[in-house]
Structures are given as C-alpha cells and as structure tokens.
Amino acid sequence: MNRKSEILIALAGNPNSGKTSIFNGLTGSHQKVANFPGVTVEKRVGQKNRDGYHITFVDLPGTYSLTAYSLDEKIARDFIVNESPDLIINVIDSGNLERSLYLTMQLMEMGVDIVIDLNMWDEASEAGIEIDTAKMSKLLGAPIVKTIGNRAQGLNSLMNAAIALYEDRHDAHRHPPVSYGSQLDDIVTSLTDSVKACPMNCRGCRNARWMAIKLLEGDIEIARQCMTDNEASAKLREKLDESVDHLRATTDQDPEIVITEGRYGYVAGIVREVMKRPKVDRMRQSNLVDNFLTHKILGYPVFILLIWLIFQATFKMGHYPMEWIDTAVAIIQDGVTSALPAGVFTDLVVDGIIGGVGSVIIFLPNIVILFLGIALLEDSGYMARAAFLMDRLMHYMGLQGKSFIPMIMGFGCTVPAIMSTRTLESQRDRILTILLLPFMSCSARLPVYILFAGAFFGKSAGNVIFSIYILGIIVAVIVGQLFKNTILRSEDIPFVMELPPYRWPTGRSVLIHMWERTKIYLRKMGGVILIASIILWFLGYFPKRSEYTQDYDAQIVQLSQMDTEKAADRISELEGLKAAEDLEYTMIGRLSVVVGPAVSPLGFNWQMGVSLLTGFVAKEVVISSMGVLYQLGADQDEQSDNLVAVLKDPKSGVTPLSAYAFMVFILLYTPCIVAVIAIKREAGAKWMWFSIFFQTILAWVAAFIVFQGGSILGL
C-alpha cells in the first residue's frame, strides 16, 4: 500500500497537563500560531520531519471534556470530527489519572487512534504513585509513553510510538469500546444501529456509536446536525425518545448523567487495576507555601507585592530600553532625512513609516518583561491562587479572579494588558475584561491630567487626578454590571478552576511562553499599525497648503539674518503659526469644523476637540497637538509654562469645570490606535467597533453630565 507521507497529529489533554511543553518539545521552533476558524481561540500548529514523514502537530485547547457547552471543548471536538487527524496524542497528568482518563474515554468514544502520554511522570513517582503501564496499555488498547515535558524527556519515544501506531493503523488491535455497564451498553448498541440506518448521511456519522452516545446525552450540536430533516430522521428520533424514556424510567436520572457516571465507573475500574498510590495527598508538600500565599491576612499583601514587582519591572525597567529605542528611531529618522532629498516621499518614510514602526517597537520592552512575569506566575502555579484570592472582588465587575492581572496591568499600558487576557480560558471573560480594561487609566493619559489639573486645580491637583483614577474603576464596575446582565449574559459556565501543585518554573518553558507572545505582537500588530499610521500620516499631511495668510518663509529668512534674541523668538512664533495653519488645512484640521460644535456642549474649545481627535492615535499626542493648535510649537509637554498660561488665559474659555470634563473624556474614550488593534486581534472586529463607539459615546455623555451638571450647580 502506498504510504501517505503526511501525518496529522492532534494533542489533547486537560488544562495543566503540561500539554504545551510537550507540544513545544515535539515541534521545537517550527511553530505558528493561528486562530481556529471563526473564533479567536488560539490554534498552535507545528511541523516536524521524521522517518520520511512530514508530521503536522495541532495543539487543541486544554479541556476536561468534549461537550457542546464550552467553546474550547467544541473547538477540540470539531477539529477531531472535521479534520480527522490520523491520531491523537492524549497528554495526561500522571498524578491525576482519574480526571485525565475521563477525557480519554471521550476520545475513545470518538473512535480515533490514541497514544497516551503519561506526562509529569517524575512528580507522580516522587509522590509514590505507581502505574502499571503494560496493563493500562492493554486495557485501553493504546500505546503508552512516559514523559517529563518540562525537561524534554521521553519525547523521542513518544514520537516513535506515534509513528508506529500510524504505520499499524490497519491492524485490528484498536481500543475496545468504552463500557458503561450492561444496561446502558445495550441501549447504546441498539441506538447505534438506528444511527447507521438513518438515511441522513451527516458528517459525524462516520462514527455512529459516538453519535448515538451524544444523542443520548442530549447534545444540542449533534442533534442539530443529525436531525435537520424531520422526515428522514423520524425513525431515529423515535428510537432516541424511546431510549431516553427507558433510561429515565429505570435510573431516575438524566441520560447525560447516567452516561457520565458510566464513564467514571469505567475509569475507576481501570485506575483500580493499574494504579497504586500511597494515601498521602500530593499537595501536602505545597501546603506550607500555600498557607502563606493564600493566608487570610497575609494573602493580599503578598499578592499586591508580587503584582507591584511585576508592574514596576514592566514599566520602570522597561523605561530604559524604551528610551534607547526612542533614541535609535530618532537617529534613524535624522539619518534618513539627511540622506534623502527633502519632499513628500521623505516625510512619508521618516514620519509615516519609521515613526509608525517606532511607535510599535517602543512597547516591546514592556511586552517582553510583562509576559516574562506572567509566564513565571503561571508556570509556578501562583496564577491560580491569585485568581482564588481575587475572585470575590472581581465578581463585582462580572469578572473572575484571573481578570485581575490584566486589569492591574491596564494602569500601565492598555496594550500588553489586552494581550494578557489570553490567560483567561473563557471567551466571554476575555471579551468582558477587554471591554473594561481601557477604564483603567493608562500611564500615557497621566501627562494630560497633570497639565490640566496643574493648571486649574493648583494645590489639590493630586486629589483631582486620584479622583479620575477612582472614577475609572467605578465606571468599570458599573459597565461590568451592565454588560454582564445584557450583552454578555449568555454563557453561564461556572467558575470552577483547578489549583495545580506549586512547581518551579523551568527557564525553557518560561522563555518559550514569553517569546511566543512577543512574536505575535511583532508580526500581527506591526503590520496593521504600520498601515494605520501611514493613513493617519496622510490625513495629517494632506492636502498641503501652498498659500498662507502671510509669507512665513520670507519673514523667517529675513529674521534669521538678524542675530538677536528677539528675532529668534519671533522665528519660533512664526514657525508655530505656520504649523498651525498647516494643520488646519489638512484633513484632520478640517475635522475641527465638525468637532468644534460636537464638543462645545462639553465646554471644550475647538483646540481641545481636535487634540482629542489626534488622541485616538495615542494619548501622548494630545498635548503636543495642543501645542501646535495654540501656536506654541509641538514640543510642549505637561510642564510647559506657555501652554499652562494659554489655557488659564480667560480668552481660552477653559474653566476648572471644563478642564475636569476634559480629563473625564480623556479617561473614558478609546485609549489609542495600538490598543484598538489589540482589541481587534484578541476579540475580533465586531468588539473593536463596539468598544470604540461605546467608549466614545460614554466619554461624551460623562463629560456632558460633568460640565452641564456642574454649570447648573454653579461650579
């Protein structure tokens, strides 16, 4: 027979089974990360050439089961049904055989060839657990290999076993059908015959027994696929109803539960046969550490300290490489400017492309350090404890404990925070966290607060800024409650989370984790942001003004011949006026005509309106564009006395009240274009648009209430 040289292998297993380290070990660096069709659940694919085969590995989402209730489980089983992998490597935590084998049973039900990987073998042996692998292999009808994934041990044997199983795939020694006890077995067998006889030739029918089991369980997905045509499936439906009624009558339970209990019964039988374990809880060694880390009183301070350390590392340590990158980008820009002839093309390359790429790379140090910290928390098992500690509090926002880490990171920078939501398993939690994250005021917004609070609130500026941060949290709680009871209500999967034993993270897996995230950031974000920044550059550059209200260039040339201080001042003033006229003339500038009336009910002048518009690019731009608009030049920052003076000047029309409304607007509207792209990447385009519109409308309404409400109260 002609040997097919392509092998498709899927990795399945529980969360915390060490599946990812096995995947990394098997595929090395030949990996790519995509999404499963139609969803934003990560699909990791790796390649390997071996023994003349080209092997493709797909890492399925870590699951405990294969029901239609959860997205991850549905993805895993749809992959098995639709892509029919040649075999599955089922990664099992050797120290937790019962729960792991429950998933194995469901894989066996699907009739796929399985290699069982008893992973974390070292931990199990240390805990005194003995497993008779020969017997287990016979009972399950599947080859068994022992591995230690995080030390890359046993991977060679695992690969050999997989290839051997593939080559022997036509042999009859497949695994026996899962038995649920004789009564249920009979029902399943006879229903299987009905499925086979059913004229509806749906895709899952390649495995009629699995189909029968799923129908009995009342699986909505399978029922939908299988029973679309009422007439054709009438007989099957009748048979199914009869079986379900019979089961209900004899067991007084839902068939779903009878089958589940059947699986556990079968698993218990196997475990009894093959495993010996001492009566000590393997968690005991962890207990001392755990008592400290989740202590009634010490738990929170320790947690806050750890988060604070990561936060500091991310933003303080990240600050230095960020400056180097900033300097490097500036040097390259200068180099290119002097190398190329002045003109539109050079401006595009320097400001649009290099500036755009620079704006992405500048976040790289933050991302790398943050993900290093998160990888350490996850691999050590502490992340689950942090979620355990924070769950009650996060529940107020409709979130669960694990969302706390992204939320706290959001005070630094929204972009890495959005990316860190990948640690949440449920899609719904991820989306809700992403939608609430921007309300955690990121560090780029702080300079705007400092400028306005400093200018208008004098000594109480600190308190005013603090109140803005608190307002962000309050808004997040309210919006969280709102979303949880409206648009994100659907999935009511309970928060049940495994607390894995504490482990020393291995450098290898931490580094792989970190590098993967970084790669995603560079590749996916880089491309889109580059395009976005080029478009924005066009909007802010064109159309070019050729006629000005006065001949600036001639005046500047004339003045530059006089070498006095007064002349120099006049030159910078003229340059500022010219830049302001340029900006006014561009497409962004023309928007001010629209923006002005839109923001005047909020007490903002048109300069504030346009700077808010440029603030969509990044909050750092708000102050510099105000500088341009107030004809002070772009090199304004929050300490610039000029800008403070201009704002405080009664002619500007800005009052303490409108300044506060402006800060509220800055807090609540879309953080920046990079964050927007990150939202698209992590939650999809639909949620990106939702987030943009929702936040901007919310910001407008809130600023309106502050300004108009305050005016009525006479503030």
Binding site: S65, Y69, L97, E98, F388, R392, V496, E498, L499
Partner: protein
C-alpha cells in the same frame, strides 16, 4: 444515617461523599466533568480570605469553586 448537607456547608478539614450533583445543563455537566460525581469523596481545604471561593480536594487534585456552585453538590458528611 449521616447528615446530608451542601458542599458549601463543610468546614475546613471536613470530608464527605457526594450523593447528588444538582443544577442543570452546562453547570451540572461542568461539575461532573471536573470530577464531582456521585460517590466521590471531597474534602474542604480552605476558604478564600473573603469566604468565597472555596478550595476543595478530591481525586488527586485541588479545585477552586464558588460557594453558589458548591451549594449544588449534596454530600453525606463523613466522620473524621
């Protein structure tokens, strides 16, 4: 006969055998899939500092579960 209570009623260190898993649909199935099935012996390990969620142990692993969901699981108290 031993007393039957909700899993959420256990005090840290107490053990019980599961006699019924209530709730319905996704919630019940999820509890089952994680290993909370009839006959399984569970031990209450501790409560989070704010009394919710709970840490329980069964099989050979520890799991965090919210009070409201633990209440769906009926257990038969076991003597120490």
């Amino acid at each position: 006969m031993a007393a039957r209570v909700g899993l959420d009623q256990l005090k840290p260190g107490q053990k019980g055998r599961i006699v019924r898993v209530g709730g319905y649909g996704a919630i019940r199935r999820r509890l089952y899939d994680l290993g909370l099935h009839n006959g399984e012996i569970v031990e209450m390990i501790k409560m989070a500092p704010l009394k919710d969620p709970l840490e329980i142990s069964f099989g050979n692993g520890h799991v965090s579960i919210r009070r409201s969901e633990a209440a769906l699981v009926t257990i038969e108290l076991m003597a120490d």
